[in-house]
């Protein structure tokens, strides 16, 4: 009897304990994936071996250290940042639009970021030298961010009327916007030279191959800030699930939540597109899987999306480096191959909601 009283009775329907345990599990998974990713590559350097050597005080070979430091570590970090950013952006957009199919990649937000990046690469040379010197390295990510920001605001503005966001309008507007952005991008690409074309291919399919410390220095802080701020919106996004009016009635500053969600999503998407190109479907697949396991409560959904998103992208990156080795596939192909059918499955299982 005493034991019965000691164990706190859990409220039926409260799944936060599942979310908490899942977070611990996903954190462990992420560590394993990170070590695997560090040990994975053209040369036979093993991350665990290097770690053991370092712990034992043995000096690692010069070439191994260079491979680790300038190739694998930046690639790992980029994968972590981009994977987390994409999954969290997806989860936040889905919460904002109250729709499990919303995703920066599908709705043209990533395309907007790509357009920004493409414009910066191709037309950046035409800038007056003074401005070019001022923006320098930062021009591409800034342009990508601005592109995703404009796309996101346009989309939200079109789909929202009198405080109600229409699902059908949103999806159709996203498709129309993606097409227009693709056309604009095409026009700009037409002007590109050979070197620029090679840079541009990287954007369209996405890849972690171009990872470098310089890029991480630019995009890393933006993504880190966006990820750190996202949990603050968890309560607001939970409230928004009831609709904007009801969210205001429970005491939320709805407009503030919406603006913050738009800014964070645009920043995270823009920054990740800037360093890794447009990688699709991570933002849909990861949050959806997590909702199936621990429910839609954003207090754990956002954190767990960051963890699982990072692991997923590391896994996809390893596959992309393996299946046609020694060459490598753009990572966007892998995520689309797996994510496409998954997206269809989500669509079909939500058919009743979408038709309503």
């Amino acid at each position: 009897m005493a034991m019965l009283e000691a164990t706190r009775v859990r409220l039926a329907g409260d799944r936060s304990h599942i979310g908490r345990r899942l977070a611990a599990l996903l954190f462990l998974l992420l560590i394993v994936m990170s070590l695997l990713s560090l040990g994975h590559g053209a040369s036979g350097v093993s991350a665990t071996q290097m770690l053991l050597d370092w712990l034992a005080g043995r000096e690692a070979a010069q070439v191994d250290r260079i491979i680790m430091h300038s190739i694998r570590l930046p690639r790992l970090l980029t994968g972590l940042l981009v994977g987390a950013a994409l999954a969290v952006s997806g989860a936040m957009m889905q919460g904002l639009f109250r729709n499990p199919l919303a995703d920066p990649g599908l709705l043209g937000v990533s395309a907007g970021a790509s357009l920004g990046a493409i414009s910066a690469i191709v037309l950046g040379g035409a800038l007056p030298p003074a401005i070019a010197a001022l923006t320098g390295w930062h021009l591409v990510p800034i342009a990508a961010f601005a592109g995703s920001w404009v796309a996101m605001f346009t989309l939200y503005g079109i789909a929202t009327r009198q405080g109600r966001t229409s699902v059908a309008t949103m999806l159709l507007a996203g498709i129309a916007m993606s097409a227009m952005i693709a056309a604009l991008s095409g026009l700009i690409i037409y002007r590109a030279d050979d070197q620029q074309l090679r840079d541009l291919t990287f954007w369209s399919l996405g890849s972690l191959a171009g990872a470098s410390w310089a890029k991480i220095a630019v995009a890393g802080p933006v993504i880190a800030l966006a990820l750190a701020l996202s949990p603050l919106l968890a309560r607001g996004l939970n409230g928004l699930a009831l609709g904007e009016a009801a969210a205001a009635h429970v005491g939320l500053h709805v407009q503030r939540v919406k603006t913050a969600a738009i800014l964070i999503t645009a920043a995270a998407t823009g920054a990740s597109v800037a360093i890794a190109g447009a990688i699709g479907f991570v933002g849909i697949v990861v949050p959806h899987l997590l909702r199936l396991i621990s429910g839609p409560d954003h207090r754990w959904l956002l954190v767990n999306s960051a963890l699982l998103g990072a692991s997923t992208l590391l896994a996809a990156d390893m596959v992309s480096r393996t299946i046609v080795a020694p060459a490598e596939l753009p990572i966007g192909i892998i995520t689309a191959l797996i994510g496409g059918p998954f997206f269809l499955w989500v669509l079909l299982s939500n058919r009743r909601v979408l038709d309503a």
Partner: protein
């Protein structure tokens, strides 16, 4: 302590929805807003809860202009039940109700959620997925969410308020009565209740004060006995209505005949 609305005018798009409405609802009473479809009942409720911002007029709640109250402040003194709530994510009933628990609670948040579920006649439903509940059950889960937001009818800052938009429209007769008893009970304990009502019999049974609307204007305001009259109702609804008149034959069922105390049995 009252809700006092004066000269509320509201325009949506190009059409004038409310033409200078007055309403005085006192705490401790159940105030019903009735009227035909399209008379502006829901629009008025939305103006009273600041979902719509009226073009002119003033609304004070417990003596304070609601235009000057911040949402988090307002949320501690009044909760709002919408007509329908469509959810796109698979929340459980307990998770929905927790969203209403925004204000700090003195003790046991989990226990409060269970108590609210029991109060709306859904004990043990915490783990059920919202989408898998029937329309009436969903509406009662929403009512439970609204109740936990202003659990005590009288709070530290004075009476609390429930704004209910057709709270019983998707319920069967037994649950209509038990939900109306719940609302009337909230008022008896000192809280304020303002409800948009469709059912005239339930209005007659439970309301202490009635506002009858037509075409965005107030036709009458007062105690049910003064407002629910042949003349006023016939004018408002545009058909001949007779109060307390039993038909000579056929079958009819009145909620008044169901009897009080049904809530305990359900």
């Amino acid at each position: 302590m009252s809700l006092i609305a004066r000269d509320i005018r509201l325009k949506l798009g190009r059409s004038q929805i409310l033409h200078g409405l007055d309403l005085t609802a006192r705490a401790g009473r159940l105030t019903a807003i009735i009227g035909p479809n399209g008379s502006g009942k829901t629009s008025l409720l939305r103006a009273l809860t600041r979902e719509y911002l009226p073009d002119s007029g003033s609304i004070t709640l417990n003596g304070r202009d609601i235009a000057g109250l911040r949402p988090e402040m307002l949320a501690t003194i009044r909760a709002v039940l919408p007509q329908h709530t469509v959810l796109s994510f698979p929340f459980t009933a307990a998770e929905i109700i927790r969203i209403g628990l925004t204000a700090p609670v003195d003790s046991g948040r989990d226990r409060l959620i269970e108590a609210a579920l029991a109060k709306v006649g859904l004990p043990g439903y915490g783990g059920r997925l919202y989408q898998e509940l029937s329309g009436g059950e969903q509406q009662r889960v929403q009512l439970a969410r609204v109740l936990v937001q202003v659990w005590h009818p009288v709070g530290r800052g004075g009476p609390c308020w429930l704004f209910l938009d057709e709270p019983v429209s998707s319920l069967d007769i037994a649950h209509q009565i038990s939900v109306m008893e719940l609302a009337a009970d909230y008022a008896r304990q000192g809280g304020g209740v303002v409800a948009v009502m469709h059912d005239l019999n339930l209005t007659a049974m439970f309301a202490d004060h009635v506002l009858l609307m037509r075409d965005g204007r107030s036709l009458a305001e007062g105690p049910p006995a003064e407002v629910l009259t042949d003349h006023l109702l016939s004018t408002a609804y545009g058909c001949r209505l007779r109060v307390n008149h039993t038909p000579p034959d056929g079958v009819w069922i009145l909620p008044q005949a169901v009897g009080v105390g049904i809530a305990e049995r359900v």
